[in-house]
Symmetry: C2
Subunit: 317 residues, 2 copies
């Protein structure tokens, strides 16, 4: 029995994840789902947003469908999502950006860089250590090159003109690309952000470090109508977590207006990861048909509700 952990999380997570889950249940009645509570709501109720037992539950799943969580306003708290990515060693954050004239996959290193968690406060300053490890760079480079090999080419987003730590990252990625026979360029992250917006057709697979990938993927969302559209996969050697790139959006939560496309596409990535590319493609195609029929949530200029959009996809699938 294939087991899928479902974390709705907070805010619009409670709206978009049920839609995605219903679709998964429709196309794959054989999957077994179990709920895991994580996030701000839980923190408010119990004082803990996530604990060791929760992590163990997540580890027991074959895949995790994840909504979005609000970071508790507690200075002692580090982002729970970041904790989970590390605990499960989900080192590749894969973010496909697809739309009119755009077909790019951002592969973001997901465990180190500025997210090292190595931070301290001194009387006159606060410091965060940006860590680029050989091993961490090698595995993300391999992941990106394997993907690029089945596609077209690779761009290495970096800031090696300023950061010595990025010289290492660039060296490892370009060496891996040569080894894999993948055409490869490097690009400074600032210039890349702009050029990706102006000329998306120049890009295929982009590999970059953690924080640069975080920013680049949000900027790239501009190309396809905003964050409501972007799914992501967080992949490790033993675990995998699928989540929309958007956050919990407390400002629009509870109003049935959130766009569930990112969550549905994340569910499709989950199916592909479980070895069922046919169902994944069917779900993607159903979303495409519903959008083409002009059924859209308000962020895309439509007036469909979250549930109504989901129901339309369910009919198409």
């Amino acid at each position: 029995m294939v087991k899928v952990a479902v974390v709705e999380g907070d805010g619009i997570g409670h709206e978009v994840i049920p839609v995605a889950r219903d679709l998964l249940e429709a196309v794959r009645p054989d999957l077994e789902f179990f709920d895991v509570e994580v996030g701000y709501g839980r923190w408010e109720r119990t004082g803990s947003a996530c604990d060791e037992e929760t992590i163990a539950d997540l580890r027991s799943a074959d895949a995790i469908l994840f909504g979005a969580i609000t970071t508790p306003p507690d200075p002692e708290y580090r982002s729970v999502l970041v904790q989970i990515r590390k605990a499960l060693d989900l080192y590749a954050n894969v973010r496909p950006i697809r739309g009119e004239g755009v077909d790019v996959v951002i592969v973001r290193e997901n465990t180190e860089g500025l997210y090292s968690g190595i931070e301290w406060t001194e009387p006159v300053r606060a410091c965060t250590l940006r860590v680029v490890s050989r091993q961490g760079s090698e595995r993300i480079a391999r992941y990106a090159c394997t993907l690029a090999k089945s596609r077209r080419h690779l761009t290495v987003g970096n800031k090696a003109n300023v950061l010595k730590s990025d010289c290492l990252f660039v060296d490892i990625c370009t060496a891996e690309a040569v080894r894999a026979g993948v055409p490869c360029r490097t690009s400074y992250i600032d210039a890349l952000c702009l050029d990706l917006l102006m000329h998306p057709d120049r890009y295929d697979v982009i590999v970059t470090t953690n924080m640069f990938g975080d920013i680049l993927s949000d900027a790239a969302a501009y190309l396809v109508g905003g964050l409501g559209m972007l799914p992501s996969a967080n992949i490790g050697d033993r675990h995998a977590l699928f989540e929309p790139v958007h956050g919990s959006a407390p400002d629009i939560a509870g109003r049935n207006i959130a766009n569930p496309v990112a969550a549905i596409r994340s569910a499709a990535m989950l199916l592909a990861h479980l070895g069922d590319p046919a169902s994944a493609a069917a779900m993607e195609a159903a979303v495409g048909r519903v959008l083409s029929a002009g059924i859209r949530t308000p962020d895309l200029g439509g007036d469909a509700g979250t549930r109504e959009f989901g129901a339309a996809v369910l009919r198409e699938v």
Copy 2:
């Protein structure tokens, strides 16, 4: 006598800076210009891109007009521009983004953050220290609040949900905004990048740390036709350097196709800084009229050359 140091630098710096300088000479015949050589060309010839004597020359100027420089491909080399910003303690990097429906000023901290220069390599990893100091944050917060006070409001771009060093930055900026009576919001840098693209009208003055400001300003260039349009000022308590946001662009250098608008606007910012807002406004207005007349360089879809565009502005001014 007011003295202006001119650094053409490399690549298209040799094309756009002479245009800007001619205009400065036309509107302010009383300024005294002197050339300073810095950059890759100099490094190729002499083995040094910039030295103590050069820095002393730059310090002797009342303002510096700066082109763009190519970073020598020498792993021992740290970016010369970054060195100059630090040596002259140019702590505020001010980047106005103006165009149809866009009037935003990005105020980027310019001396610390990921540009601390505190970096080391260990056998299995390379590290860069991100430093957010109390004093560094306070002075940039004051600068941004003074500017926002004469405008509308302030947004603090940060990643405090992940970086403890940004908790300090946010605390200091919001406290300073309260003190100055400036309406202030905070926004995570990834979401901010996207929202600035989607809703530029929601933003006025944005203050952020060094690397985030670097990336955000390039992304924002998308709103106004690309990097060819964006000027910047690097301001310290004793020195000031004005430069286009774009780089030396070796790929298009020497072809008389570079857009000189960013350099001309940087020269206008220089005039305003020297206490001559009237000449600055006249130069800005002349650029506006030339663009409105449909005279544009190829990056904006036109066929005017760099020199021809400059000559047209000279006629208008």
